[in-house]
Subunit: 541 residues, 2 copies
């Protein structure tokens, strides 16, 4: 049994003790050994791979993921088909790095959620932006479609081909270019893995301004291209603020060098912004300059049980007031999420069963000050009944174990069946109503309807599972979820982007004039439309 925060008594910082961490680490080991060897180059197969490819759990010969072109009503655009002559040309540009091996291609054609699948027959692995420029110049001339691919950890089918697009992988563009030890400015190639960059800058007294569940595989270039949000958004804000510069190769092979390492640069239009969140449809990001904040000296995580969603919200207000500038994350999950991580991943809850759980992280420069702030908050939260049970961790391993409960929900969901994922921005006060509403609407059609996410940012991850893909369930969900969201002035994509799967929901969040301008920008920057086609922009009428 874990130590519990006891209401109405003087509080001290409670230390994490045991059980919950173990489930996580056991699972992690098991998981690591399951990663197919061929995935090596796309991510470090270390101790804590954060994303789950269910392929590893299905026996050889199990049904393949349906081809996107068969499951969805999408028509191939009139791009050229890569020929033997094209492959030979690529071979001249990047000798020995033109991949046609079917096993590698099988893995790169399907998304990790196993919901969309393309049929590309060639994957290219450039090492430099000049090589990318050369490749794109060639593809542009030959009218060959290109699917830029980072760690292939996206949630919306943006990172894999829809048809036979050439996969342009950033996996070998994984060099740190420079790091400034006073300012904390990191400049690196686009294919650097987020977790490796984190380790790199942490060893130098800084942290990456973003962190996400897929950190062990995702590439920084992909993070920027998809404007990834994640777990540190509350504290360090959006990539639109923390990215200082980008190097981008445009569709025709032009290298756009806006790789400024300066904190401030107000010389004309901030062109890099165009590419942040454009999902590879306007250019291929080849290098990133990013501002890393100093590494906090003290980090605490509190994992608390709340009796209702109203209390989750009030706890947020209370902790914003009392934790102030040291609050670095405020996450929530419902009881069904906890059930999923316990059931599928064998993690153990560190607190009594509750309708809701919140994870609060503080990051500060002085341990005793932070502890005092956190204790005062916990005391008030317990005393007022906002929180009924809780535990606090300060050491690295235990922090990670608490975080795993929240970070691995997505993985647990993928073990539960086919997952319908929605990533919505909503006013916090009505945010959870959609989950309860949907549970009533779907009844037994769904296995689970769960809600969790970055409450501090008004970001709900709404997930619905069923045994297998079901058209009727999808029809019950869409456009209902989008209409509900638009009706509450929310956004149909808070952080996952649009990719292939959400692009036709764009009009729920953007007015016609904005859609038109998006189309015009696409036409300006990629007149032939070769970059990541069928993504981001709605199919034209």
């Amino acid at each position: 049994m874990l130590p519990r925060l006891v209401p109405r008594q003087p509080l001290r910082l409670f230390r994490w003790q045991a059980a919950c961490a173990q489930g996580a680490s056991v699972q992690r080991r098991t998981w690591a050994s399951r990663i197919p060897r061929l995935l090596g180059p796309w991510g470090p197969v270390g101790n804590s791979p954060p994303v789950c490819r269910r392929s590893s759990s299905t026996p050889a010969g199990s049904p393949e993921v349906a081809l996107t072109q068969e499951r969805y009503p999408v028509k191939r655009l009139p791009f050229s088909t890569p020929s033997e002559a094209d492959l030979a040309a690529f071979e001249r540009i990047i000798p020995g790095r033109v991949v046609t091996d079917t096993e590698v291609l099988a893995a790169s054609n399907v998304d990790w959620l196993r919901t969309v699948r393309g049929c590309s027959r060639v994957l290219l692995r450039p090492r430099t932006s000049e090589e990318v420029a050369h490749i794109l110049r060639y593809c542009h001339e030959r009218n060959l479609a290109v699917n830029p691919q980072g760690g292939n950890t996206g949630m919306v089918g943006g990172s894999v081909p829809v048809f036979d697009e050439i996969i342009l992988s950033t996996a070998l563009m994984n060099q740190v270019i420079s790091f400034h030890s006073v300012s904390g400015t990191l400049v690196c190639q686009a294919g650097c893995i987020l977790e490796e960059l984190s380790q790199y800058v942490e060893a130098r007294g800084f942290v990456m301004p973003l962190d996400l569940g897929a950190k062990g595989s995702c590439h920084i270039g992909g993070n920027v291209a998809t404007n990834a949000g994640g777990l540190r958004f509350l504290r360090y804000g959006s990539l639109h603020g923390t990215v200082l510069g980008l190097e981008v190769v445009l569709a025709d092979g032009t290298v756009l060098n806006c790789l400024s390492a300066l904190r401030k640069d107000n010389t004309g239009y901030d062109l890099k912004q165009l590419f942040i969140g454009s999902e590879g449809t306007l250019g291929v990001i080849t290098a990133v300059s990013i501002q890393c904040p100093p590494k906090p000296r003290a980090v605490n995580v509190a994992f608390l049980g709340c009796p209702g969603f109203a209390e989750v919200l009030q706890t947020f207000s209370t902790c914003k007031g009392l934790l102030g500038e040291i609050l670095s994350a405020y996450e929530f999950m419902d009881a069904e999420c906890m059930w999923l991580v316990r059931h599928h991943l064998h993690l153990t809850s560190p607190v009594q069963e509750s309708p809701f759980y919140v994870l609060i992280e503080t990051s500060g420069s002085r341990a005793e000050h932070d502890a005092e702030k956190l204790n005062d908050f916990l005391e008030q939260a317990l005393r007022s009944g906002l929180v009924t049970d809780g535990t606090v961790a300060t050491d690295q391993m235990k922090l990670k174990a608490l975080w795993a409960l929240r970070e691995r929900i997505s993985e647990a969901l993928s073990w539960d069946g086919y997952v319908y994922k929605y990533d919505l921005s909503l006013p916090t006060d009505t945010l959870y109503d959609l989950v309860t509403d949907l549970r009533a609407r779907l009844g037994s059609q769904a296995k689970h309807v769960v809600g969790y996410g970055h409450l501090g940012d008004g970001n709900l991850h709404l997930n619905v599972t069923s045994e297998a893909f079901s058209r009727s369930l999808l029809d019950a969900l869409e456009p209902y979820v989008y209409e509900w969201t638009a009706g509450h002035r929310g956004s149909v994509s808070a952080e996952h982007g649009l990719g292939f799967k959400k692009k036709d929901a764009l009009h729920y969040s953007k007015p016609p004039a904005a859609l038109r301008l998006m189309q015009q920008l696409k036409a300006l920057l990629d007149p032939k439309g070769i970059l990541n086609p069928y993504k981001t922009l709605p199919a034209q009428a």
Copy 2:
């Protein structure tokens, strides 16, 4: 005599006592009474107007500012000339708000630095975005050039006409649209004055994420259009991160409503980013949604003397480490700056004469924790000889008086003569070398060569004064300053933008491919080039 920090003794927080504040407040009263009445509508004539229009000090009939078209080699583009019929048409769109009064126009045709002057004969004061849309639709059809104008506090001649462009003032678009008291999201019209917004949100427990010397006059729309940096950049980052949404009227009168009030919205291209820093050349910002951080409960300002620039840098490293998340500003100024504010504004230095001064602000949620951190930092800085003298303030009035020493340098400079202003981003370690280098280069040609700025952001404000505008001095400064900056991989505009005066220096900071893309974006969004012509983009060859 003010209390001084005494080295090698136990420290407590020193309180500000007297003298320095008085100079400031006396000056402020004097200043307020000097503002010409006709300027009323463009800014509140309150207790602390922060910008200086020297016109008020020059006797009536004193020489006018030279017309831009006479001083600079610029040719009028073939726009239509506003006719009586046009004025009548505007009168139908915004009855009673078409201004042709020569006194009002005189003030709106010249920048506050009195360095550039246009000859517009009409100023329009719409109240709504629909009116702006109607006006632009008309101007677009008639090929009439338009100069959007906020508080007219810009530093680079971007806010006044070059020839006879129609001035489109946001002064009457000054309504708060909504404020969310939990999230701190403010939505307001573009013409709201920054200081009034600050007061509005501070009364509700939040602060604006930006603050600048011109706050008493500048409009939030202008701040966003110019991507203003300012005094809180170090803590809250760039407007690219804090602006959540914009409503923009495009050149042809299309209203682009991207006025999201959500903290996260990842639905396609982040179109608002295009307009942040575009200086009104791509569209007219009519409303802004912005994320306001919680108001800090404790604010401290330390004003310190440093024996050399190396110590200024080391003090910065030391305070970053010891103040951590509560550090909210790190500003520096050299001895000549202090001389100017003492001489022209009669402010008193609160510390012994030193070669350099730094102003450090902390903003936190708990006074005793912040005081302890600040004391530890001051103790270390004094003990190690980084700082030789200093004073600390915590109450509001005294904080403001210390800030005035730094904020009013620009005003003091404008009393010193004609000012050549450079706003550069440079690596901090070589940042001040340019100032000493220039002093040697210019010798007696210049009255003063001073350096100050936002050191924490690597932002140097380099200013040179002379009795009157001198072509030979300008030639000694340019392109030397820009070449020096480019040679050190800096930026020729850290936060002031390009406007009219810096647009031709753009190529020192952006490669040809970026310039080309800027021109393409301009052509896409404003094909007739009617929006703020002669600004931001270099004159085409």
